[in-house]
């Protein structure tokens, strides 16, 4: 918030006061956000600064709390799917999948094989788009302006492909309970096939432009070291955990869909720092390409939506189910509890970013403000997902 300090309405607000209670005298208390270029939207971080050193930081959430879990109670299962695209606009299909998968598990619905492949392909494409978005935005945080332009150029190619079956660019509501809304047409598959080698050829450019750049290396190496133990205590997953050397990927750990049939590597890094997370994400993009390539080859012909797929007025069977998928930011989980009504009784969405961000307070302690920004970026935040 760019306000003067005397009449800063945040200075007297509940969170700041609460935070300031334990602040040391003479330290500067600074509100980063809710509108701040480096907090990716509306995250707010209150930091206690001693000079440029962050003594303490407390993320404050809820500036984009959009009541998804409440809406899940109000809307029927099928009606809730569009929400999933809005929980995490970066990796919308992952969320689509988590929710749809949970309901399918609950109702014991078998998804056609082609639909599973379509899900894999689109989800991995979406993962690439998400990582590209992160890459560009992260470098923007670190002060490099051009990478985000290149990243978005490449991301547009992915979006163009995904637009064919889904019809939208960002907030997909593409998966249905029992399949997907639309098949990938020949045009789309042709584009995907063309995209894979093209995108592979782009990766060295990323390396040349910044990955190897000495300034970037100095900025992210050794910054924000997260020990595996901390990941465990905070429940961090995804690239954050893998960047700390934890070989945990839901696609491998509790295999779902067609992933067991696909050959890919789960990249991990022993560096444990921002660099490790950076590397993991860069390799993940390559691996996603591999997955897509194989899935395209293996994909059978057939239906993409199970016969008699649930309509909006469908009654969800009683019971509970937890389904998790590997999202771009980590483990996306959907826990559904149904009492047999049209609306799911209770839907709990496990947001990976939520857990990853809770690490921030611990990791940022004692760093320089600029490093805190670098750490925040390396956690890959999508605020709507965290606030839900």
């Amino acid at each position: 918030m760019t306000t003067s300090q005397n009449n800063d309405h945040l200075a007297g607000d509940f969170y700041t006061q609460n935070f300031a209670k334990t602040a040391k005298d003479g330290n500067l208390i600074l509100n980063l956000g809710p509108q701040h270029p480096s907090t990716h939207g509306v995250l707010r971080v209150v930091v206690e600064l001693d000079g440029e050193y962050v003594m303490r930081a407390e993320p404050i959430l809820g500036y984009l709390h959009r009541m998804h879990e409440k809406m899940a109670e109000v809307k029927t299962a099928a009606q809730f799917i569009p929400n999933m695209g809005r929980v995490d606009y970066g990796h919308a299909l992952g969320w689509n999948w988590a929710f749809v998968g949970a309901v399918e598990k609950l109702a014991d619905i078998e998804v056609p094989e082609r639909a599973e492949y379509v899900r894999v392909i689109t989800c991995e494409l979406n993962r690439i788009a998400s990582h590209l978005l992160w890459w560009g935005a992260y470098l923007l945080d670190l002060g490099a302006f051009t990478p985000i332009m290149y990243a978005f150029d490449d991301r547009e190619k992915v979006l163009d492909i995904l637009q064919i079956p889904t019809g939208s660019r960002l907030t997909y509501s593409y998966f249905r309970i029992g399949g997907v809304a639309q098949d990938l047409n020949a045009d789309c598959i042709r584009l995907i096939r063309a995209f894979i080698p093209w995108f592979r050829s782009r990766l060295p450019m990323y390396k040349d432009l910044v990955s190897d750049n000495i300034i970037l290396r100095k900025r992210i190496e050794g910054i924000g070291v997260i020990e595996p133990d901390a990941c465990r205590r905070f429940g961090a997953t995804g690239p954050v955990a893998r960047g700390s050397g934890i070989n945990y990927d839901v696609r491998r750990a509790t295999p779902y869909s067609m992933y067991p049939k696909l050959d890919f590597v789960v990249p991990t890094s022993e560096l444990k720092d921002a660099r490790g997370r950076y590397d993991v994400r860069m390799i993940e993009m390559e691996q996603s390409l591999r997955i897509i390539e194989q899935a395209l080859d293996l994909m059978p012909e057939g239906e993409v939506l199970v016969k008699g797929a649930p309509k909006p007025s469908w009654k969800v069977p009683k019971g509970e189910a937890y389904f998790a998928v590997e999202g771009a930011r980590g483990k996306i989980g959907a826990y559904v509890v149904s009492d047999g009504g049209k609306n799911i009784y209770r839907t709990k969405l496990r947001a990976p970013g939520f857990c990853n961000l809770s690490l921030f307070a611990e990791v940022s302690k004692g760093t320089i403000l600029a490093d805190a920004v670098a750490i925040l970026g390396s956690l890959d935040l999508i605020i709507p997902e965290i606030d839900r």
Binding site: M1, T2, V42, L64, R66, M67, R86, P384
Partner: protein
């Protein structure tokens, strides 16, 4: 400041300096204003990504002089409210609007900002149903999220509002859509 109480009092719209509001001077300055709309780096939700996309190479809002995304409200001319405004965020939005120097404009981008969009339902407890309840909005760009073209169109509409003239052709009609060079 409760979000509720904020809803009641809409901030005044300060008009521009009187010196520059006379006759041809105003016309010229208005023209310049419409051609140099610096947005604030202010993204809320999904639409913010599309807002970023507009700044990126494929659409390049820079062509119309609006790529100078300023992080400080003091230096920006338009606020693109891109995303859901929650009740928690509302005071900040108003605050940011108040911090912008006149003349200032607001574009409500996306359905959430216009009316609450998909998050408007009976019993909702967290969002503001339309940012025009908080601050005066000049241009509305619907969509969920709107395509970048939509936001550009919104920008043109705003330019039209400021300068009284549309400078660019109307959107392409059914014509051959070609990737331009």
């Amino acid at each position: 400041m409760a979000a509720q109480s904020l809803l009641a009092q809409k901030p005044d719209v300060i008009t521009a300096d009187p010196i520059l509001n006379i006759g041809p001077a105003k016309q010229i300055v208005d023209l310049c204003r419409s051609m140099s709309l610096w947005p604030m780096t202010f993204g809320l939700a999904c639409c913010a990504i599309e807002m970023m996309a507009v700044g990126m190479a494929r659409w390049d809002i820079a062509r119309f002089g609006a790529e100078v995304f300023r992080p400080s409200p003091r230096q920006s001319d338009i606020m693109i409210v891109a995303g859901t405004v929650t009740k928690k965020m509302a005071p900040a939005v108003i605050r940011l609007y108040e911090q912008m120097p006149a003349p200032r404009w607001v574009i409500a981008m996306g359905n959430c900002a216009i009316s609450g969009g998909p998050f408007k339902f009976k019993g909702q407890y967290g969002i503001i149903e339309g940012v025009d309840n908080l601050i005066p909005v000049d241009v509305f760009v619907p969509g969920c999220p709107p395509r970048p073209e939509g936001l550009l169109e919104g920008l043109f509409k705003l330019q039209e509002k400021i300068s009284g003239k549309r400078f660019w052709p109307n959107p392409p009609v059914n014509g051959p859509f070609e990737e331009g060079k």
